[in-house]
């Protein structure tokens, strides 16, 4: 339970990953630090993958969203590498939403559980997938190909 309302964090919670529109950048663990100084908000984001082509769009969406907040008159977005983004930064809510979207959350095992039937009978089809952060698997139980977030 949140006891202190933080309007900036609540606003960031509505900025979604352009490639996974059910999951916010907060839930993905991309928000590293937020500081506010007399109406100037600085947001430090940590990229999931260094070459992710959605980064510019995410930065713009953060700016567009936060400038609508009362008492905010300037927004600065910086990408930082430290601490590095790792897949265990994804929040429990984020993991659940990924699964509902049809993408298996990252797993300690080589193959994630199937997001459709939950079976642990997946095999790797391709370590690489439609975006830098995903791999492609196949579930031998429900015979469904599925995507999973890479464990990094």
């Amino acid at each position: 339970m949140k006891t202190i309302r933080d309007p900036v964090m609540e606003a960031l919670q509505t900025v979604m990953d352009p490639e996974i529109p059910d999951v916010s950048i907060v839930e993905l663990g991309m928000v590293n630090r937020v500081t506010m100084n007399e109406g100037h908000v600085r947001v430090e984001l940590t990229p999931t993958f260094v070459g992710c082509p959605a980064l510019d769009m995410i930065a713009q969406n953060v700016k567009d969203r936060l400038i609508q907040e009362e008492r905010v008159n300037r927004v600065e977005v910086a990408f930082v590498m430290s601490p590095p983004w790792t897949s265990d930064r994804i929040t429990p809510e984020g993991r659940e939403k990924l699964k509902n979207f049809g993408i298996a959350p990252p797993s300690e095992d080589r193959v994630s559980d199937c997001p459709y039937c939950g079976a642990k009978e997946g095999e790797v089809v391709n370590l690489f997938g439609p975006t830098a952060c995903r791999s492609v698997f196949y579930c031998r139980n429900c015979r469904q190909p599925f995507e999973g977030m890479k464990t990094v």
Binding site: P47, F49, V50, G51, C52, P53, V80, M81, S82, P84, W85, T86, V125, N126, L127, F128, G129, P130, T131, A132, V136, K150, V152
Partner: protein
């Protein structure tokens, strides 16, 4: 001592050594990323096709990271550096500007480079240039997947026998002519080491690479051709082939048609 870009620009010799190192990193990744992208639609299977596109995106993204650090040090903007520098200003190893060749040659070159890149990044983890050290931690986690992928192909093709094995042997002998060029740190190696920008010199990089590579040749059942020799030309000193001219021309063809366009 860890240093920031603002501190480094005050010391010309240090700045020069660091920019040389960053150009080597950026240009290696940019050349290979471009070559990877040339497999789009042509790889032997759809998985290989998707993989090379994704790997290309990673490599070019890593090049952008290094080019951004150069921009912080007062060099031109990343796009300008990527598209509009002449061959003489580029610091990639010659091996990486060469065309892909067949699938076997593509895999051999990539795997040999990936192992080298991992060893070089390991030597950068304690770099005195703070933001480089931080970025390398992140980039290494991504490159882990490239290593897994290329090790699988390297071993599979070599163990398959027949034509695959023949082509792998041919590829190794071709790639071996230039692979020694990876280890060069160019004209200011001493300064790079003196300022703690990188923890290991060219000899050490070559030794570490051979120690890791040799058992992988054994595992794949390939003969180890012996320590690579230094090639005649050194890409780290701006010495390149016509292949790089053609690569730059292809890569910058669209942006060059209207350099002021907003994309």
């Amino acid at each position: 001592m860890m240093q920031t870009a603002e501190q480094i620009v005050q010391e010309p010799r240090l700045r020069h050594a660091l920019t040389e190192l960053l150009y080597q990193l950026a240009d290696d990744e940019l050349c290979l990323g471009h070559r990877d992208s040339e497999w789009l639609g042509l790889a032997p299977d759809i998985e290989g096709d998707v993989a090379f596109s994704s790997i290309a995106q990673d490599e070019v993204g890593h090049a952008v990271f290094y080019l951004e650090r150069l921009h912080e040090l007062g060099e031109a903007k990343p796009d300008q550096l990527a598209f509009f520098r002449g061959p003489g200003e580029r610091r990639n190893a010659i091996l990486l500007e060469q065309p892909n060749g067949d699938w076997a040659r593509t895999i051999v070159r990539h795997f040999l480079y990936d192992i080298f890149d991992d060893i070089r990044m390991e030597a950068l983890l304690q770099s005195s240039f703070h933001s480089l050290a931080q970025g390398v931690v992140k980039i290494r986690r991504e490159e882990h997947y490239h290593l897994l992928h290329h090790k699988m192909w390297f071993t599979r093709l070599a163990q398959a026998g027949g034509e695959a094995r023949q082509r792998m042997e041919q590829a190794v002998s071709e790639v071996w002519m230039e692979v020694g060029g990876l280890f060069s740190l160019g004209e200011v190696e001493e300064e790079m080491l003196h300022y703690g920008l990188i923890a290991c010199g060219s000899e050490g990089l070559a030794q570490r690479w051979a120690e890791r590579m040799r058992p992988l040749f054994d595992e794949a059942g390939l003969n180890w051709p012996g320590m690579p020799v230094k090639p005649k030309r050194d890409g780290r000193k701006g010495e390149h082939t016509k292949d790089l001219e053609r690569l730059i021309q292809t890569m910058s063809e669209v942006v060059g048609s209207d350099p002021d366009a907003q994309w």
